[in-house]
Symmetry: C2
Subunit: 147 residues, 2 copies
Amino acid sequence: MVDILHKVGIKASTPEAVYKALTTMGGLAGWWTTQTSGNGDVGGVIEFRFGPGGIDMKVLELIPEKRVVWEVVAGPTEWMGTTVSFDIAQENDWTLVRFKHQGWKEPVDFMHHCSTKWGVFLLSLKSLSEATKGAPAPNETKLDSWE
Amino acid sequence: MVDILHKVGIKASTPEAVYKALTTMGGLAGWWTTQTSGNGDVGGVIEFRFGPGGIDMKVLELIPEKRVVWEVVAGPTEWMGTTVSFDIAQENDWTLVRFKHQGWKEPVDFMHHCSTKWGVFLLSLKSLSEATKGAPAPNETKLDSWE
């Protein structure tokens, strides 16, 4: 099992604001993909679309201002059954987000791509919160010919 | 053992140009840190400085236009003995860089930070090559209060 790990700090934000960006359809559409819909409650499924394809995430856990956990229930084969978590903490002026995409079976080429791409989107979340403007798909940084 | 993995594609570049950005002092200073000096030959040591601290990398392997491997010989405790590799390949219009920072003993908090930060610098490498301007330290995206 291999994991994708990231950490970003958002300056002059709050755990409340970041939690909102991770749990509301409008918040998620502001940094990950503009095509976001579904039910963000625990047990609900959120549908993220990227052009023709997409990912469905079941919401496993929500702790207000602290933690969000999703399970991939539809999407690329390599993502099936993996989990995505965001842990939020405040340290001085920074609201920190510790991110994990866990449960990859093998460190396949697509995992390298997704690692960098999660970095791009977490920088979009940072930018959304710091500058009130993110760069969600379809206008995010393209990494290679897979996109 | 846990690894940091990334992959970026650089459009309309060449393996020659990307290899140069990864192996010459001027190239490295254009995307990682402006304070880069040392000996980039196999067996040589390159000194990367970031404000007060820094990292010394011993060059372990160089395959022109294909592969660059470094070993950390001085730097943060968690980095000591780890290796950093870049594999270069051409696919259609894209020059791909597959990146690995391997040999971390534990998935510590600093590893989360470094994972995202490598993403930031690899996007700087992409930007250097695509737009002829990178964003090396000290002008890179700051991630949190550690910087």
